[in-house]
Amino acid sequence: MEREQEKIVKSMKKDLDRRTLDEAPDSELLLLAKGGKSVAIEVLFHRYKDKLYSIAYGIVGNTTDAIDVVQDAFFKSIKKINKLSKEANIAGYLYRATSTTAIDVIRHKTASKSISFEDLLGHENEIADIQLKPDTLLENSERASTLYEAIAKLPIDQRVVVVLHHIEDLTVDAIAQRLNIPAGTVKSRLARGREALRRKLLGKLR
């Protein structure tokens, strides 16, 4: 298998640059990254940085921690990239590393504040009012940040489930398995999270 990978990498042009690789499929970038090509890793980062940041920001709820989470998760993933098979879904691998790191950050923060993560998961925080332009639809550039501000204000249990389902595109069963909770609990948290977001945002986000 390694010999096959080596042949493919050798068959690729030596003078690979960003422009050549920008349109390369993930599988090709994965092989090059496994071969130690930094330019392939850069392209992978540029391809997924916004989504990774969105997952991290959605879960941790602030810019500083989200940057740390993405950096940490990306570096850890790349260090272990040689363990991936050539058919591996690199996007899913990066998303999972990011959400797991983000959840760990929340756990760590709640532990340092002497509040159990589980207590926090069950706690219904009041969503603070988000400043929206009255009776006007938001511009595209504002829309994402407004939406993510609203997600960040959700209680942690709902926030994590909403991000995993809608941003990381995980199924209810996959979320249940990841968080080690029943699928019914995932559904009810998802419902409460959506309802809270609907109440606050929907009139502005069409």
Binding site: E2, Q5, E6, A33, K34, G35, G36, S38, I41, E42, F45, H46, K49, D50, K51, L52, Y53, S54, Y57, T63, I67, V70, Q71, F74, F75, I78, K79, I81, N82, R143, A144, S145, L147, Y148, V162, H165, H166, I167, D169, T171, V172, K187, S188, L190, A191, R192, R194, E195, L197, R198, L201, L202, L205, R206
Partner: protein
Amino acid sequence: MNCEVVRKQIAEATVEELQKGLDKNIEEHLSACPDCRAYLEQIKNLTVVLDTEIVPAPKSLESAVIGNLHKIIPKPFYAKRLLIAAIIFLLVSAIAVSYYITYIWSNPDLEDCEPNGDHNKKGSQVEELKTPKVD
């Protein structure tokens, strides 16, 4: 089926369920209830926005990652094989040197042996020297 139950089921529906269509009983209720239809539309719109909107990563993230990338670049997959080859080479060399030291260098008689076919000749001379002549 009342509005409360219908709205709960709509809110709990996965993205897939919302796209494919809901339960028959709910559909029946929706056809007769404009408020619940409006609620379903709102939830659908929200899921579309949630599925498509992403926050652009700040520039500081990019510089933090790209600037430190050289520290974590993985070793190429063929580096392992090169390492194994180097270890084998060193082992073979060590065995050869130890053999030379043990059997040849430590035996001065054998050092006199010359290559190019003289070995037999010299060797036989050595044998002759070792074997006491019987008169």
